[in-house]
Structures are given as structure tokens and as C-alpha cells.
Symmetry: C2
Subunit: 433 residues, 2 copies
């Protein structure tokens, strides 16, 4: 039930129905009432759609214990008896008569929840290990970054130390940590909290139970998923994927990864290697990929692939064009230099990027023809660059019925951290009695 009627505070409570109370009217009424039961979630300044949406998320599907505010079931005879005492010849005026107000308040307040309930998010990347305190609103309250150690022992020790520090800080920041979410490279079994098989970028990181040590140290529930899947979860909770039943996120960074949401849930597949979107092949031969195969979109369109081509052009002295600032040594030439060169009219750089955009676009068309999402979200550093070429390839090569799809660029700063946090924030507030 949603609204500002006192039914929500009284009658709905008797049935255990979840209620969202909008505005301040029933807040005042509540002050006069004693039996304000825990079924009511107050959204006092219901000025933004977003706040009501949050409230709905928190209350949806819940059942509360029924409050017993209506006594022993003998109201009718009592009312009849009372009515008989009234002199109907005289005018009547409604007066309020409530029992005295109790001290405690067991109802919930959306502002209090949004401001204090938080998650600890851990992101294990090829280079960095990051921990953050993330609020229910998706605000990164505090962030910690360290180089990701090369060995299992050093890494686990650092994770636990950083988490413990963050938990102490959270208390001082008035953040109530509900649990820990971990985003990591590699293939993950989220049911068991185990990293099955890592990417080449993180060593000593296969067959690792990451849930147990963190849970033992912090005494909070722990969720784990692959970073591509976490990025999709971040879009679902805080980004363009909010309220979208079927969508796909593709991250174009150093590598290419992503996640697929179908019927509001991630597709994990039978051995947890679904949504390996970087390894969609768009060529029977094509360039070699780090996975050992050929023609994967990662081998055409990732940061590493573009850097490889930039270096090749630079080695042949074909990269620099008029207007470009001096380039550094070949080792530090990057995808961004290639993109700059193309913008300044370098036709060889343009050709590389055209092929990369085509490969990524064809890979995405393959996604459309397989799971038919209603939205594609590009994230990662190269997202803005690829949006137009991908939309163009879809127009040229997708089946008519799949061409109407939207391709958007993510506006989230930290998809991996926000996705890791969302596992905690979603699951711990989805209580069903």
C-alpha cells in the first residue's frame, strides 16, 4: 500500500501489509497514535520519484507480523451499547481520543536507511585492489586503493586489513555496514563465493574460497561475482538498467567483458562462464586473442588490441600526424594516441578503429540475435568512442526486429565497486518473512 492515509498505519498493520507512507500527514497522525507498527516505511519528503522508487524496492514482497490493534473481536456489541447512550436530539461533533504515546518507535524511515545503511565493496583488478564504503543511494562514502599483491597470501592479508580499517571508519562515518560484496576478474561461482578460474591478469587466484576468510574476519555476509557481472548489477541498481528487464552491459577497457540481465537476473550459465562477451568471435581467422583463440572481439576492440596497433604504427613511424603533441617511447603509446591520430586525419589509424568498431558492433549484433535485450550499455574508458560505430553496425547488420535497440554509454564512475555493493544492498534488504 502506498499513500498518506491512516489506513496504512492502522488497518494495513493489522494485516501485516507493507506500507509506504508519503509526505508528512501520517507522520503527524503517527505522533498521536501508539500502534504505529513496523509495516510502515516513511518517505516524508516524497518530492522525488527516486526516493519513492527506493521505498518500493525496500518494501516489495515483504510480509510483516500482524499487529493486534483491534482487540478481542467484540467491538460491535460495545459500539451498539455506546450508540444507545447517545442523545440524537442534540448536535454531534467529532473529537479525537487516543491512548498515550509510547516512547519507542519501531517504524522505519527511508532517509535514515538511505543515509546509514551501506555496503563494503571490494574490487580485485589486474592492477589495483580497492575497497569502498558505498551507501544505499550508491554514494561512495570512502575509497581505499592499494596495488593488488602478486601472491595469494599477501592479497588475502591486504583484503582483510583494508576491510577491517573500512569497517572502523564506517562506524565513525555513521554508516551501518550490511555485508561485503566482492567484484573480481575471472570465473566465479557466486553461490559458493568461490573464484573458480582467474584471468591471466591476477595470479594465484584460481579455486579460491574468498567468502570464508572475509566472513570470518568481519562477521558479515559476503557476496562474490565476476567484474563483468558486477558492472551489469551496478547498471541495474544505479544506472541506465534501472527497471529494465532484459539488458546487456559491455565493458571496453584493457580487455572486454560484460554481463547479461534476463528477466531481471544475471545469466550465469551451467559452469558460470556465461557472458564471456569479450570472447565472442567475429572472424573465422582474425587476430590472435589472449584466450588462445582467434577473431574474438577483445582481439580487435579492447584497449590492449588498440595499443598493439598503435605501437605497430608508431614502430613504422605511421602514427604521428600534424597537430599531435610529441609521442613518447613506443612502450607507452596507448589506445588514446591512436584515437587522437584518427581524429587528426591519420587514415591508417582510422582504418584500425573502423575495423575495431565493426568487430565490436558485429559481436553486439550476435548478442541481440541470441538474447534479444531491450538495451545495450557500453561502459569502460572506450565506451564513448564506440557508441556511434556500434549503433551504425546494428543498423546495417541486425535483423529488422532487433534494430530498434538503444545503445547507451554508462554514466557510472565505478561500475565494479557499485555492482559489488549492490549485491549486498539488494539481498540484505530483500527480507521476506
Amino acid at each position: 500500500m502506498i499513500g498518506n492515509s491512516s489506513c496504512g498505519v492502522r488497518e494495513a498493520g493489522a494485516f501485516g501489509t507493507p506500507v509506504i507512507n508519503l509526505g508528512s500527514r501520517q507522520t503527524r497522525e503517527r505522533d498521536r497514535l501508539v500502534q504505529d507498527s513496523e509495516n510502515v516505511l516513511h518517505v516524508r519528503d516524497a518530492d522525488t520519484q527516486n526516493k519513492i522508487y527506493h521505498g518500493l524496492e525496500l518494501q516489495f514482497g515483504k510480509r510483516y507480523p500482524c499487529s493486534k490493534i483491534y482487540g478481542d473481536g467484540n467491538a460491535v456489541p460495545r459500539i451498539l451499547k455506546f450508540l444507545q447512550t447517545i442523545n440524537l436530539d442534540e448536535p454531534l461533533q467529532k473529537t479525537f481520543c487516543f491512548p498515550p504515546v509510547k516512547e519507542w518507535d519501531i517504524s522505519q524511515d527511508i532517509d535514515h536507511i538511505l543515509e546509514t545503511q551501506s555496503a563494503l565493496a571490494v574490487d580485485l583488478g589486474g592492477t589495483n585492489l580497492r575497497v569502498a564504503i558505498v551507501s544505499m543511494r550508491g554514494k561512495i562514502v570512502k575509497k581505499y586503493t592499494q596495488a593488488n599483491p602478486k601472491t595469494y597470501e599477501a592479497r588475502i592479508e591486504l583484503i582483510l586489513t583494508m576491510c577491517k580499517v573500512a569497517v572502523v571508519d564506517a562506524m565513525h562515518l555513521n554508516c551501518r555496514i550490511l555485508g561485503v560484496g566482492v567484484s573480481t576478474g575471472g570465473r566465479v561461482n557466486p553461490q559458493e563465493g568461490v573464484i573458480l578460474h582467474s584471468t591471466k591478469l591476477i595470479q594465484e587466484w584460481s579455486s579460491i574460497d574468498i567468502r570464508t576468510p572475509i566472513s570470518d574476519a568481519i562477521h558479515l555476509p559476503v557476496w562474490v561475482d565476476n567484474d563483468g557481472n558486477c558492472a551489469a548489477l551496478a547498471e541495474k541498481k544505479f544506472g541506465h538498467g534501472k527497471g529494465v528487464e532484459n539488458f546487456v552491459t559491455i565493458i571496453t577497457g584493457t580487455g572486454i567483458g560484460g554481463g547479461i540481465i534476463q528477466h531481471n537476473e544475471l545469466i550465469h550459465g551451467s559452469t558460470f562462464c556465461a557472458a564471456e562477451l569479450g570472447h565472442i568471435m567475429v572472424s573465422l581467422d582474425g587476430p590472435e586473442c589472449m584466450c588462445g583463440s582467434r577473431g574474438c572481439i577483445e582481439a580487435y576492440a579492447s584497449g590492449i588490441a588498440l595499443q598493439r596497433e598503435a605501437k605497430r604504427l608508431h614502430d613504422e613511424d605511421l602514427l604521428k600526424v600534424e597537430g599531435m603533441v610529441d609521442l613518447k617511447k613506443a612502450e607507452s603509446v596507448s589506445a588514446i594516441d591512436l584515437i587522437n591520430a584518427a581524429r587528426l586525419g591519420n587514415s591508417k589509424a582510422e582504418a584500425v578503429l573502423r575495423t575495431a568498431g565493426m568487430a565490436l558492433g558485429v559481436g553486439i549484433v550476435n548478442i541481440l540475435h541470441m538474447v534479444n535485450p531491450s538495451l545495450v550499455i557500453l561502459s569502460g574508458v572506450l565506451a564513448a568512442h564506440y557508441q556511434a560505430p556500434v549503433q551504425q553496425v546494428i543498423g546495417q547488420r541486425a535483423l529488422t526486429s532487433a534494430q530498434s535497440i538503444q545503445v547507451l554509454t554508462s554514466d557510472l564512475d565505478e561500475p565494479a565497486l557499485l555492482g559489488a555493493a549492490s549485491m549486498v544492498l539488494d539481498y540484505t534488504t530483500r527480507r521476506i518473512y
Copy 2:
């Protein structure tokens, strides 16, 4: 509950619990009992796993009304009173004392259901219009075939006529028709029973409500889905997909189609064009496809694609090799001639088939990397030919974690008809009170 205890017939009935009674012991007991309630499904000759599996499918998730066989709740005082009348100094012998047997029998019998409950299946292909009576066991009891008319009016009229004839025949064959399932080429909205957009092979077949005219004429519920999806449903109910949570069916016939099962359900996608598996692209350029794009696996590996290559070789007089019977005119040269030529050592034909197998294999690897099924089922006339090459490409090009997948060849004769029937047989027997 499953077993042969009389608890199933008595106590479970009182709670409305679904029971599967195995063997004949309780059948005999039943003859002596009057209150055999409808919660019991009898599987008398429980000799095959399959029959018990069918029984489980029928009973799973059901709730029955509670039978009131235990009277008014005053049994204890009555028993005590009775016990006091017994002379415990004399020996006691158990004797049975049941109320008289009633005439009617409201329990269910698995054999009766499997033999009589049936579906009407309609398959609308590019060439033929077929109708069949399909039993709960997946047996095609009777089949009717006509050329698929070219106009909407003639086609609808023929469908209705064929269905009406089949319904009359079904009665004489002791088949109880539960509903009509329609498998058709093109994109289908199964919720509405509407064909949104047809393939080029069936004319005047877009934006067609097929449910209403059939339902109006036959007075039975009607289900509709795309033929690729129906093939997947057929595998789920009657084929290799039985009990498999995530699998994919790929049909390699004139064209290439298929269906994806995830968490035991078809993926339809946001605009009902998921699982357009023939239009997975494995080349940035590649041969032209009927869909207007290039490099689709259908353009490499379908019957039409192989026939095109066979014709090309034949035109250049490069197809015939020693040992082949005389070939007909180029127009009638087929994919089978190409396969024969390759078997007899024609290296050009071999190369065409190698590329086709590679393209299909890479397309299937793309499926593995996207939805990670645990089983791939190949069906259609070319399935047996492609099984080995596909398995080989998976070994070479899939990620390690996806390589363990099984690739099987379907052993169903009529996937489209069986899948159409399965929509009826599954939904109508999945009653939940």
C-alpha cells in the same frame, strides 16, 4: 509422496498431498477402500523410470482438496470407549472392517492419461502445412500433410479444416485433445498467439493472430511459438533435453534456427527475436545471407548455402568425382551431393564443408560464451554431418571452462510437431489449485 504405502491413499489424501502409487499393492488395497481420493496417481507397472518420471511431471506442484475421511475429530474418546469393552485376557487377531465399495472411481491412472490425453499439433513450414494428433507419451497417433497455401485466407481455411477433421478422428481413436499447439516459421509473440513477422518462405504471414480463429473453431486453448523454439521444447519434453536446465537446440536444415532453454524456460527476448541462431555472424564480411547481412552461419552452413556451393562446383564441372552416380541438372544438385563428393575425395567439396563446419562451430562457441548451456543438441537433416566438426571447433576455440560441453544429435523424428504438442501437454497438465 511416492511409494506403495496405504498412507498415500489415506493420510496423504486428508492433507491434499499429491501421491504417486507405485505397483499394484495399493491398487488391491484400493479395491477394499472407499475413500480413494483424487490425490493418488496410480503407476501400476512401475517397471520403467520413464513412466515414474511422467507421473512426477503430472503430480509436481499440485495441491488437491483435502479429503474428509477422518470424521468429526472425536475418534479418541470413541477408541477409548471401544478399548474398554475388550477382554484382554483372551488372544486378539487383527481383522479388516471396511465400508462397502462405491461404484465410481475419482483417482487417476497414469496409463489411462498417457494413452488418451493428447494434443493437436500444427506445423507451418515453408512448403508444407501439417497437423498431427500427439499423445502424452510423444507418439504421433495420426498425421495429415498438405501443401502450405500461398495466401492468408486459403491457409487459415485449410488449417481449420484439417484441425476439425483431426478432432473428429481423435474421438474415434480414443484420444482426448487438450488443446492446439502451433509451430510456425517467423517471429512469434507466444503470449498473444500472434505471428509478428514471418520468414520469406511463408507469404502473407505477418501480424497474424493465429490463436483466435483456431480457438473459435475448435473451442480449445491454443499455444503458438516459433519453430526453432518448438524444436527446443520438443527436446525438453521428449528428447536429450529432458531434465536439463540450460541447453540449446540448433536446427540445420534448409535454413538454420534454434531455441535456447535457460532455467528450464525458453528465452524469448524483449521483442521475441531471441535465439535467431542462424544469424549469428562469424565474419566481418563473408558470404551474403538471405537476411540482408553477411557472414551469418546460415550463409555458410545451411542446406541452401551448401546447395549454392554444390551448384557452383557443378557449373564449373568440379563436383563429380569417381564413384558418384550421374548427377542431374544443376538446379537439382543438393547439399547431399556435396557431402557425397567430399566423402569420395573431392577436395574442393571438402574445403566447402570444412568452412561450413568451422562457421557453424564458431557460431556455437559464441553461444557457449554468451549463455553457457550444459548441452548442445543438433537437429535437422544436416545434424549428423556437423556433430564431429562442431565438437572439434569447440575443442580448439572455446574457453577452457566451456569446452566440456556435450554436443548431441537429436533422435526426434518430428521436433516441430512434438514441440507444438508439448506446449499443450505441459501447460494443460500443470494445474495448481
